[in-house]
């Protein structure tokens, strides 16, 4: 079984994601692939990592979304593989039209790095197989353009289809603007593709795959690709 991490010029969480995937997916082959010439034919799981692909020039994710590697990502999705976009990787998936929505600068107008609480929403996805609706996870965020925008109609449709994966919340799962670090619409922190096999999220699960220092809530998300979980497909 093989997981691949796509590396664009300016990606800077690719090495971190490799470390975390090795922790989450013991026995898996984990590879980082430079975007130019990347081949996902043997892959079951592809991660688009965080960072500043192409320096976030034009718009965050806009240039990387035009890379030839995105066609490989689409083929992997068609084959039923798993795709996870983290932070800048989420922005790339949105710019590529693989996930809906758009991004703006955080409402506070500056970069924000801190732990955020996330509530697991009612959704069906291998990425959520480890969790129950209402679970509260603690994952770090680190972004400047994490204000995820949806229209009211888009939001309702995603909600009805069970494609809202995570929303920002307080330590006990409570909603509210004071718990929304970037102004995202309805506090959405992560959304799923139509089959639940593509997940885009602003928080960094790879930074919470380090149980020795008490950061562990990302492990379950990254372990989505473990074979037994593929059967059940969540709750």
């Amino acid at each position: 079984m093989r997981a691949d991490i796509l590396v664009f010029p300016g990606s800077n969480c690719d090495l971190d994601t490799e470390i975390a995937l090795r922790e989450a997916l013991p026995g898996w082959q984990v590879e980082r692939q430079w975007h130019d010439g990347a081949h996902l034919g043997e892959s079951q799981f592809c991660v688009l990592p965080g960072g500043f692909a192409y320096g976030d020039y034009l718009r965050a994710g806009a240039l990387a979304a035009r890379s030839g590697a995105i066609a490989e990502v689409r083929r992997l999705i068609e084959r039923g593989g798993l795709v996870l976009g983290i932070c800048n990787g989420f922005q790339v998936l949105v710019e590529a039209g693989i996930l809906p929505g758009a991004f703006q600068a955080n409402t506070v107008q500056h970069f924000v790095c801190r732990d955020a609480h996330l509530r697991v929403e009612r959704a069906r996805s291998p990425f959520l197989a480890d969790f129950a609706e209402g679970d509260v996870l603690t994952l770090p965020i680190a972004h400047q353009e994490g204000n995820y925008r949806l229209t009211a109609d888009e939001y309702r449709r995603l909600k009805d289809e069970g494609r809202i994966a995570f929303t920002y919340c307080g330590p006990h799962g409570e909603s509210g603007d004071e718990h929304n670090p970037n102004g995202s619409y309805a506090g959405v922190a992560g959304v799923l593709g139509a089959e639940g096999r593509v997940l885009g999220m602003m928080p960094h699960p790879e930074r919470a795959a380090w149980p020795a220092v008490g950061r562990k809530d990302g492990l379950g998300i990254l372990a989505a690709a473990l074979a037994p979980r593929l059967e059940g497909g969540g709750h």
Binding site: D16, F52, V213, G214
Partner: protein, 714 residues
């Protein structure tokens, strides 16, 4: 004196010496190079002799002063490269780019040692924030640190910030970078091998930053905005590509030597690399990739365009290095070759523009310092009135003590997965790699103490930095320093330079710490105001098992609260004395013996196992330290103190710590063995409130009340 030498900013004697060494008059290009190489910034003309007095040897030292960055052995085949450097004048003129390129420059110094840059720390000094210009500079500098660090993928894990009127027009931006490497990966800057090639790797060369080193070597002028073109522009996206391309080339190819292009651009790097290796070079300026078409040869040679490295390697390896560079989209051009003859030949389209001995550029004549002593502080203090509970709340709102998270929350603190302990309290903790050893790192200096005595201030900066790494359970193994001072050409500035170096020397010797290098920034004066002498210390503490550093695991309610070390008996130099207007007096020198005993205590496994959190007393003394423990953990503290004296509650002793412990008796027994005094003050509680019973009465603070003051929420 010829016109060119005047422009070069050299004295009449220096120009004469240059001609004497060359045996002829110099050409315009040579004067221009000399202006940079013989500037204070590059040549350390005023400080070199004094810096030689600093101890530089130690059991962990793998590379010391003279290398691009100091390197310390961490054991298990791992090492840590670290250096701190200033970018003050550029930040005064263009704060965002000034700070950003400050980070970039120090990052490339660490990269040049063969290390992967792993963390930044930023030591910042501004004027009071009620001055709009200071607020503008502070915003810009913080944005610049975030802009560069976040994008280049190196976390900013620590630093410190103080506000003092002397920094109003001359803010200080000191950036420290820490990197990790395996022992065999260490590189030097000494070029060697007749016929070997110089490869210029990184960004194409533009006209930015020409004369930057000379700009750094004079006082800031009131019309400093005119100097904006001398400020370089950083591109962290390109910097990231440069890191990866450089590390891959170092991994794949036998690179003989490497250095970053900083002050003096290509000329500076080539001269220093050749001088270190005792060789010369021929540099073909027409081969340098340009991003502006009409650059003249002197501009190509002296441009300080960012994100560039110079590598010395066999010509056979050039194609392979270029292939790596191409994949990352960075330029890589062979711009010269090494010659056994130790002269620098600069060519343009094969025509020789200049040939001069390498040593003429590299060995600037030193300047002597004017005599004079620092002005003495009067020394009488009035008696303190009884302490009131409002004193603590007011102190927590002071700009030098309040919550720093609005600054560091704009920095990526985690990227790289090495940050075991994030910023917030004492030192940050990094691991070199999963399962590898790590370090506790901090920067420290206290302008209040340095304003009273430069020498004592420097000693206390070392002591505070040592305390901060000790608080993480780390043993201090080396330090890097950034000496920010006023003009050395005035007696007071010269005295301050002598005093801070003497202070660091005393402290480093007393604690057996090597000084692995650093940076001297003189001429920090603007509009006739000189800065307080500001010797910033970057300390490295060794942690064989960083995941088990003190403070990684959360502390529970019901833990014992201990006071380790002798309590404060004086208010000299304290925040409290300043806040209450009690006057200034010289504090005692740090208690180095006590710091050594404290280091022994945290090395005692039986105590170490039981210590959950350790936090040193610094600005604000005991009560502030206790409040910070409550704020940091969210726990309450229910305590009984033996004294209500202001000196006990707010004095700032040099070797005292608050500890939370799972078992008080084990820590007390180990403290006795180590010769450290230990008092049990009380217990942590779940309610979050700070309750202090003292002879003069009980003071109680709700967590929300402390938090509101500390966050300055009026």
């Amino acid at each position: 004196m010829p016109e060119a030498a005047t422009v070069a900013g050299l004295t009449r004697d220096e120009a004469k010496e240059a001609r004497r060494r060359a045996g002829r008059d110099l050409g315009a290009l040579e004067w221009a190079i000399l202006a940079v190489q013989w500037s204070e910034h590059c040549a350390y003309k005023h400080s070199k002799e004094l810096l030689r007095s600093l101890p530089k040897d130690g059991a962990h030292v793998m590379a010391g002063p003279g290398a691009s960055a100091g390197v310390l052995d961490l054991g298990d085949g791992w090492a840590c490269a670290a250096k701190i450097e200033s970018h003050n004048h550029p930040s005064a003129v263009e704060p965002l780019q000034g700070a950003a390129t400050g980070l970039g420059g120090i990052m490339r110094d660490v990269l040049a040692m063969g290390a992967r840059p792993a963390a930044f720390l930023d030591a910042l000094r501004f004027g009071p924030l009620d001055d709009p210009k200071s607020a503008f500079l502070a915003r810009g500098v913080v944005a610049g640190v975030g802009h560069y660090g976040n994008c280049v993928g190196v976390p900013t894990v620590g630093g410190d910030v103080y506000y003092h009127p002397s920094y109003q027009r001359n803010p200080l931006v000191n950036a420290m970078c820490v990197g990790f490497l395996r022992h065999g990966e260490m590189r030097s800057a000494a070029a060697a091998g007749d016929g070997n090639a110089f490869l210029l790797l990184g960004a194409a060369t533009g006209r930015d930053g020409i004369g930057g080193a000379a700009f750094a070597s004079v006082e800031l002028q009131a019309d400093a905005a005119q100097d904006r073109p001398r400020v370089q522009v950083g591109d962290p996206f390109y910097g990231k590509l440069l890191i990866e391309a450089t590390l891959e080339i170092l991994r794949e190819l036998p690179v003989v030597a490497i250095q970053d292009l900083g002050a003096g651009g290509l000329a500076g790097a080539a001269i220093e690399m050749c001088h270190q290796g005792g060789v010369g070079a021929e540099i073909e300026l027409a081969a340098v990739p340009l991003r502006a078409q009409d650059l003249t040869p002197p501009e190509i040679l002296l441009s300080e365009s960012q994100e560039r490295m110079l590598l010395c390697l066999s010509p056979q390896d050039i194609p392979a290095a270029q292939a790596v560079a191409k994949r990352y989209g960075v330029e890589a051009a062979q711009v010269g070759r090494i010659t056994a003859k130790p002269t620098m030949r600069f060519l343009y389209e094969s025509e020789c523009l200049s040939e001069l001995k390498t040593s003429i550029y590299a060995e600037a004549p030193l300047r002597s310092l004017p005599q004079g002593a620092a002005p003495k502080v009067a020394g009488a203090m009035s008696a303190a009135s009884p302490v009131a509970r409002e004193d603590l709340l007011r102190m927590l709102t002071l700009p030098d003590l309040c919550d720093r998270s609005p600054i560091y929350a704009t920095y990526d603190q985690d990227v790289g997965l090495r940050t075991v302990v994030r910023p917030g309290l004492d030192a940050a903790v990094l691991r070199a790699a999963p399962g590898a050893p790590g370090v506790a790192v901090t920067t420290d200096q206290n302008p209040r103490l340095c304003a009273i005595s430069a020498r004592l201030g420097a000693e206390h900066a070392v002591a505070e930095a040592a305390r901060n790494v000790i608080a993480r359970g780390a043993v201090p193994i080396g330090l890097t320093n950034c000496l920010n001072l006023p003009s050395p050409e005035h007696p007071a500035g010269a005295a301050a330079l002598r005093d801070v170096i003497e202070g660091i020397r005393q402290a480093a010797l007393a604690l057996s710490l090597p000084v692995t290098g650093g940076n001297v920034s003189l001429y920090n004066e603007a509009e006739a105001v000189a800065i307080v002498p500001t010797p910033v210390i970057g300390m490295i503490g060794l942690l064989p098992d960083p995941e088990r550093a003190i403070g990684v695991a959360p502390s529970p309610p019901g833990a014992a609260v201990l006071l380790l070390g002798d309590p404060g008996t004086s208010l000299a130099g304290s925040v409290y004395a300043e806040m209450k207007g009690l006057g200034e007096a010289e504090p005692a020198a740090p208690d180095y013996g006590a710091l050594r005993r404290m280091t022994a205590l945290i090395g005692d496994g039986s105590a170490r196992e039981e210590i959950l959190l350790l936090h040193d007393l610094a600005d604000g003394g005991l009560l502030v330290a206790l409040a910070e423990v409550a704020l940091h953990t969210g726990l309450g503290l229910d305590l009984r103190l033996e004294s209500s004296e202001a000196a006990f509650l707010f004095g700032e002793p040099s070797a005292q710590f608050v500890a939370l412990a799972s078992r008080a008796d084990a820590v007390a027994a180990a403290a006795t063995r180590a010769g450290v005094s230990c008092r049990e003050l009380g217990r942590t509680t779940a309610d979050g409130n700070l309750r202090i019973a003292a002879p003069a009465g009980v003071m109680e603070f709700a967590q929300s009340e402390l938090r509101k003051a500390w966050r300055r929420e009026a």
